[in-house]
Symmetry: D2
Subunit: 350 residues, 4 copies
């Protein structure tokens, strides 16, 4: 299997190299593109990768649609929002399959995409694109030409709530679910910005885009499908002074009489065969280091009896499970391989 | 003015030395106690303090009630919960005034204290103790013999909600207010524990005591007084990989028709003369580094129209505003000095 | 192949689980011991490992010599100094092979060990033990019953200097080589101590054991063998506020007329077939993140013409290359497998 | 006293605001300039400063030489290298005194400056400029019109070696002194660069500019003056994943028969009246957190008998003692105030 990575100078690209380099099926990376680093050797940009796979042989080229056709069976698009929808049609037409790590194909309706992002350049593909969350859409992913890899925050929130909503545990008159989420700084990308410079982030913590973060409609889309009716959430992202990790603390009012142990059983059943969701025992305090560098999503459930609320805490690695690890799981499914192939990496602790 | 610091080997004690050492009224520290470090020089335990004030002359002694009487006009109790209520009665009887940084005198009802902590050893003092939040209780603090210095999380949550509740902005049928709070690790104290060792905390983030943290009743007590009726909150603490700082993101359903700009005006009026609360302009994203090392509390207000929620974000330094800085402000008020005396320290950025 | 891990609650033990869990030869861990955690499930102590290999089935038992015999083909001793020399004789006698990650068998002479550590309990094994640095001792390691896995600092210093000393580049009248080394905090182990608590280490940097660190004789032993005559070094360790990584900056006066490019060629030749040493091109600034989580040692050479000094900078991950990764490489060699088997993990960046 | 701050958007500018805002002589900041932020309010760029001194009233203006004349008694130039030498002549001519925090006036010889930086635009001022290290040049600073505030690394190295060299402790045939220095990231400035973004620096450590860092000639100039003869050093800077702090570990071969306790006595005598140098007792392990946010320089001396080397470790806060704190000390001296006025801030621990 030949692989192309488009936009291979960011952190999701780098994480793809990490994961694909030790994948037992030995997919061969044949094309890597970057407008900015055109002509440079991959390992001069990422010296960490030297000595691994064929990485010392790879050079960046510009992402020219014509030159890409036929050179890979599967393309990962690790480009900024807005670029993937320009590239995907030609790549698909050339017969390749595409996993897009940007937001371009995550929303099913082009109007919604337009409201939150920009006018969509390939709206005809939105209906075809499969939302690449294996726990919910494995059969569709296997058959897909175009997979929209989920956002990092949405992955952490949707996995936390899927069994709850799917099984009707949300009270009918419940107030909006609240998702209070905190992400490591790699989620902001590799570009140098004042706000993500070391001295601004280190030893500090902040809320940002407190209202209106663009992951909101993606979360609502999937939660609404799970619940079977339209649903609004209150989502607040925060920036953590750490490299990798998202922790979401989610507040939901359950229907009356819900017992927390029953709820945990439902979660265990729902995720029984999922290799990457760990429903934790009572009292476990989720932490991002327990999933660092891995494709796991840890879930822990709590019932706050005094306030009448369920608190669900989920932890993922935003770069692995929240981006490139999930993309590799999707590649596995699309290739007929086991979902977990090459992703059984233990968390890196400490 | 002579000062005693009881339990002067923890981080709140250390922060008192930092603040008192540069206080323009030059309060003299005459007694420092520690059971564990009895006989040692203060600056051998805290070399950072060498060369400042009279700190190179101070030695730890054991906290013997009899020996303490008469040696200071004001005692700061920086001891663990349970110790202050043993010491305070004798110190008060000797004529000294007391600022207790532990939880021992924060709850007004001994039964509630008993439920969340342990049986109270000096319940007769609970009625007399003044809750040391200057923005709410300055007149009472000025006259107090015994001040219960607020907890760090409660300070961040109560200041964020006081104008909202006091002015009747909470909807009558509103669901419980949610306080999602994140604290730097100094809040866990200076003791060596497995959970707060560097490699466990660094580059990680976790929720802990997800249900039932002991700051809950303290927060509810004060919020209920502000609202004028009993109120329950859902409070979730988290541990941040940084030294100092608490950021609380608070979710409340407002009464209908509330405009966010009006609400901000109410906050500006409420805190108009408060030297340490900064009500931030629209769009400001609060961050703990903007208050690091200072006594400020930064507040920022947001309205999530889609979800119908007000989001209030507050940032403090847990050791300064959330503990020793607030204690010094209380000392100022008790001494007839301006509240801000010696506390006009700029945040330490970066 | 059956594996026993003795002292499996520390960070080197945890790293062994990470590496062995994805090793393609599927070594089976059959015994894990811990005095302190006897009876507990492995994944209750290390929840991060849940869902991997057979780790959810493993329970800690006490390290009883009698019970260990025959239950594994190879034992990793991840115990504190002083314990391995008590356990190793019986394990070897039972027919098992042993890789000791402590210092107990690293020094060839029992008197030297006695001077720096304590009287040796199994001095007869010192002559047999092989110093487990594959780049220098691969043939001996393959045949060894007992491998002394090198210390973390020594690994970083010896690899940096081996070609220099082996090829006679050190000036005859040169002053002592200086090794200024900085280690991440995981090198201090998993135990909770005041000095390694988060708030003491975070946002700080210190020198420690400035004179007399116990890795000094180990470094001198190996450097002297490389040079062919006795040699003294000045070694200064420092504590970094990060989890994993050692960077050593080494200062040596070369013999006259040495050209830095020639020296780099010598290094490239010396390490030509070594899978884990990356001799970096001119100007590369080594950083610990480029080897984080991997078994690589990055080396970069500089010539300071004004001062007449060669500066060699080496970077390793202290837990992987400096401990458990190297131990797995030794296991590979002892088992007749390629040295790099299961160790081709890309650095975890960011 | 009226103060102007030129280039007031960087970290040294920010630190000046922190220190001047609580200075008991209440110097009034009347002018703040920035090309980039012209027209913006100071506290919109640095919200942390809101509510302090007159900072909410200050706005950035462009640094126009003509407009600056007469508006301040003293100007701090916190500009990049190359700008100060353009501005200083006009400011001096207008009758103001100048403290330059850049490198422009630190080297006494314009040819040396030209070799390491660029041709000097105001060479006639080099002879007049006083090197602003109060422990060495207090009398000259008091009378100076133009003070060249020392570099951060040079401050840490020169203070560590001054008594050693001044008192003839360096062996005649000694090899070059080695200064292995590590700096927090604020030393790289506030600009956003790829190399100082959070995810590149956090949890990592690197050497940089391993040969040829531009602080080398500044260090050599001052050390040579202390020794009384020309001297070469080997200097290696490193980047620490922390905000503030420089730790220098310095290796020097002493003349024969030097006793470490005698040496410490010499240091104690040399710095006896210096308010900001703390010569630490035997065995103290210097750490940057012990000086964080303060103007102290901590010094600790060690003798490595086996290697025949003295190791001197110094710790400073690069932004305070290594830049703006030292600048304020110079302002104090130039104004006839005590050197330590307004600088008696305790280190911020943790």
């Amino acid at each position: 299997m030949k692989i192309g990575i488009i936009g291979a100078t960011g952190y999701t690209g780098l994480e793809l190299f990490r994961l694909l380099g030790q994948h037992p099926r030995r997919p061969e990376i044949t094309v890597v593109t970057s407008r900015k680093e055109e002509g440079l050797a991959l390992t001069s940009v990422f010296p960490a990768l030297s000595g691994l796979a064929n990485y010392d042989q790879l050079c960046y080229e510009a992402p020219d649609k014509k030159n890409l056709a036929g050179r890979a069976d599967l393309f990962f698009l690790a480009t900024p929002h807005g670029t993937a929808m320009e590239l995907a049609p030609a790549l698909l037409e050339s017969g390749a399959r595409v996993i897009d790590l940007s937001a371009d194909f995550r929303l099913r309706e082009s109007e919604v995409f337009g409201q939150w992002y920009q006018p969509h350049a390939a709206p005809e593909l939105l209906a075809e694109a499969v939302y690449g969350l294996p726990e919910l859409y494995a059969p569709e992913i296997k058959a897909a030409r175009l997979v929209a890899n989920p956002g990092c925050y949405p992955t952490s929130v949707i996995l936390a709530l899927a069994p709850f909503l799917k099984n009707g545990f949300m009270a009918d008159d419940a107030p909006p679910i609240i998702a209070d989420s905190c992400s490591g700084t790699s989620g902001a990308g590799r570009g140098a910005t004042a706000g993500t410079s070391f001295c601004e982030v280190h030893d500090s913590f902040k809320a940002y885009k407190v209202v209106g973060h663009r992951h909101t409609p993606e979360i609502e889309q999937e939660l609404s499908r799970l619940k079977g009716q339209s649903l609004t959430i209150a989502f607040t992202p925060h920036l953590l002074p750490l490299n990798r990790g998202i922790l979401s603390t989610i507040y939901a009012v359950p229907s009356k009489g819900v017992q927390i142990d029953d709820l945990r059983d439902i979660y265990l059943k729902f995720y029984g065969s999922a290799p990457f969701v760990r429903v934790r025992p009572s009292g476990y305090e989720p932490q991002t280091s327990d999933v660092r560098g891995s494709n796991f999503c840890d879930l822990s459930l709590f019932y706050d009896q005094r306030a009448g609320l369920v608190k669900i805490v989920s932890a993922i690695d935003n770069l692995c499970r929240g981006a490139s690890g999930q993309a590799v799981a999707n590649m596995n499914l699309m290739s007929g391989w086991p979902e977990a192939e090459g992703l059984g990496l233990a968390p890196v602790r400490p």
